[in-house]
């Protein structure tokens, strides 16, 4: 099925959820509201002639100047029909949460953990939402646009609380 046709089907089924359909380089991007994301994903997964059974990717994107600051991008692919569509759910900054789709694709588990780790987006109903790439006691969300690429002088991470005293002499020995 042509990706634009899938977008049309989605629009018919969820007329109030689909915000915008864009196409670039033969790929179709469908912006949706976040409230019914699980229902939308389940529909795409279960409908026999759509059969989006492969979650290629799931990631967050940060747009600080937009009304809805975050976007969660679901990259859906059908192994059966060889078609792809990218769903983009809008997530506001004051309540950065969205329903988890782990119930539909198990593969979403770690991708959602990573989006939470990097952008601070909370996935409701996720079985095990912890930091994944950054240490457990890390402050802040590194891939947000307002997070600096390099920290301030002396402000970088010095290891876990337990090992901090090991670094107490770093300054006098000039290893900072």
């Amino acid at each position: 099925m042509e990706p634009l046709e899938i977008a049309g089907r989605l629009k018919d089924k969820f007329p109030f959820e689909v915000l915008e359909v864009k196409s670039f380089r033969d790929q179709v991007f469908v912006s949706v509201k976040r409230e019914k994301i699980l229902e939308i994903c389940r529909y795409l997964y279960e409908e026999p002639d759509l059969c989006m059974n492969f979650l290629s990717d799931l990631c967050g994107v940060d747009y600080p100047e937009r009304k809805h600051r975050f976007e969660v991008v679901y990259n859906l692919y059908s192994l059966k029909y060889n078609h792809r569509v990218l769903l983009k759910a809008q997530v506001p900054q004051d309540d950065p949460s969205i329903n988890s789709v782990v119930a539909v694709w198990n593969g979403a588990n770690w991708h959602e953990r990573e989006a939470c780790d990097m952008y601070g987006i909370v996935f409701n109903g996720h079985p095990d939402l912890r930091r994944i790439l950054m240490p457990d006691d890390w402050d802040g969300f590194p891939q947000r646009k307002d997070y600096p690429l390099r920290g301030k002088e002396g402000a970088e991470y010095r290891g876990f609380e337990e090992t901090k005293e090991l670094h107490a002499h770093d300054k006098e020995w000039n290893i900072v």
């Binding site: 380089r25 790929q27 694709w105 593969g107 770690w110 950054m134």
Partner: protein, 398 residues
């Protein structure tokens, strides 16, 4: 543990930490295993020890500067990563790549697949206890690395492709040497098979172990040989062809049972397919330029730079500042690297830097499914399972 209770020995579950510094975890992977005797009740992987923030870093680099970062993702098949990145950027820029380049890229990508699978077979067999295979595989891998060195000067982190083309053209002598390698390589693969295919220890440790059904493998997002071992003929080279894969004849090997043995078989068959692709590419290699004609994004040829003012200016701007404009939009592009589907998702805001670069790495997905493979099996099978999904933590943690 020593309490006697009505004549029975009371037991407790044991929590065992495996890694991150453990030679059999193929990098800095840490697993916490809850054991009941030798059976695994729960397996929890911890990753991130090799996180370098490549995605964040890429937002502060221009498109030309990101290429060397992709070498360091899957550092044992860096050529495939480079090509994956270049294909994605070319899709974003809308650059048409010359046919000769397509063939050379296909050929080098398949060389990478062979060298990756050789390293995989060597270490996987070593994990399970077959030492000799390791030495045999490294003998052939060395030859491929030598060929890479002759081609571009680097053995591991090659950075050989460029956006819109290649760093340099291939020499006829180099092609001859590669052809000689492909002459004898199928015989070498048979040698590896005689070493382990009928080995009872090998069979007992791989057949029926780490089974994952086709539905589960798809649902977990697995790709590459792991998915094909479960009988799903999904290969990005066939479904979304790039390079010259639609111009050569080859097949997608698949397994049936989805166990470690079938994943091994798939990779062994891929050796032969890759070998045949390389030979066909050499036979069909067309003449022509190797760089696309898109002066705003691709580096002009050196002889033009030295003789032509306009090209000199393009070269100067690209090297000192990078591409000044990029089309606005979003693009997802996938390529089949030796480990599975490597995807690049770009959000471009029109400047010469990506607004967001997302790397969909196969290893990350495969590690996430490790508990599914391991739970209910024995401790020793964890090592066999880690080997069979062929992970590299540089790519997993990015």
């Amino acid at each position: 543990m020593n309490d006697f209770d009505n004549g029975r020995i009371a037991t407790t579950d044991l929590t065992l930490n495996l890694g991150p510094q453990h030679p059999a975890t193929h990098g800095v992977l840490r697993l916490v295993l809850d054991l009941d005797g030798e059976t695994i009740v729960k397996c929890t992987p911890y990753v991130g020890y090799l996180h370098r923030g490549v995605e964040k870093l890429a937002e502060h680099r221009n498109f030309l500067q990101i290429l060397p970062l992709t070498d360091r993702l899957d550092y044992i098949s860096s050529m495939a990563n480079n090509i994956g990145y270049c294909v994605a950027v070319e899709k974003l820029f809308g650059i048409e790549v010359p046919e000769r380049t397509q063939f050379i890229r296909t050929l080098t990508a398949e060389m990478t697949r062979i060298s990756n699978h050789l390293l995989w077979l060597a270490t996987h067999a070593l994990d399970i206890g077959a030492m000799t295979v390791f030495l045999y595989c490294f003998r052939e891998r060395e030859k491929i690395l030598d060929l890479f060195e002759k081609l571009c000067g680097a053995r591991l982190t090659v950075s050989y492709p460029r956006i819109g083309g290649l760093k340099n053209d291939v020499e006829p002598q180099w092609l001859d040497e590669l052809y000689r390698f492909t002459d004898e390589f199928p015989m070498r693969v048979e040698q590896y098979e005689t070493l382990i295919d009928k080995n009872r220890i090998w069979l007992k440790r791989t057949k029926g172990i780490g089974v994952i059904s086709a539905e589960d493998a798809i649902n977990w997002g697995m790709s590459g040989p792991v998915l094909r071992g479960s009988g799903v003929p999904y290969d990005v080279r066939k479904t979304m062809p790039y390079g010259a894969y639609d111009k050569v004849k080859w097949e997608v090997p698949t397994g049936k049972n989805g166990d470690i043995y079938d994943r091994y078989r798939v990779r062994m068959d891929e050796f032969r397919q890759s070998n045949s692709i390389i030979r066909q590419c050499i036979d069909k290699l067309p003449e022509g330029p190797i760089m696309a004609d898109a002066p705003k994004f691709t580096l002009p040829a050196k002889d033009r730079v030295l003789s032509d003012m306009e090209h000199l200016i393009h070269h100067f701007v690209l090297i000192t500042k990078g591409p000044q404009t990029a089309p606005e939009g979003e693009v997802y592009s996938a390529t089949e690297v030796p480990k599975g589907e490597l995807g690049f998702y770009f959000v471009s805001d029109g400047t010469g830097k990506p607004y967001r670069m997302r790397i969909r790495s196969p290893s990350f997905v495969h590690v996430s499914a490790l508990p599914k493979l391991c739970e209910g099996e024995l401790v020793a099978d964890v090592i066999a399972n880690i080997g069979s999904i062929d992970i590299v933590l540089g790519e997993c943690d990015r």
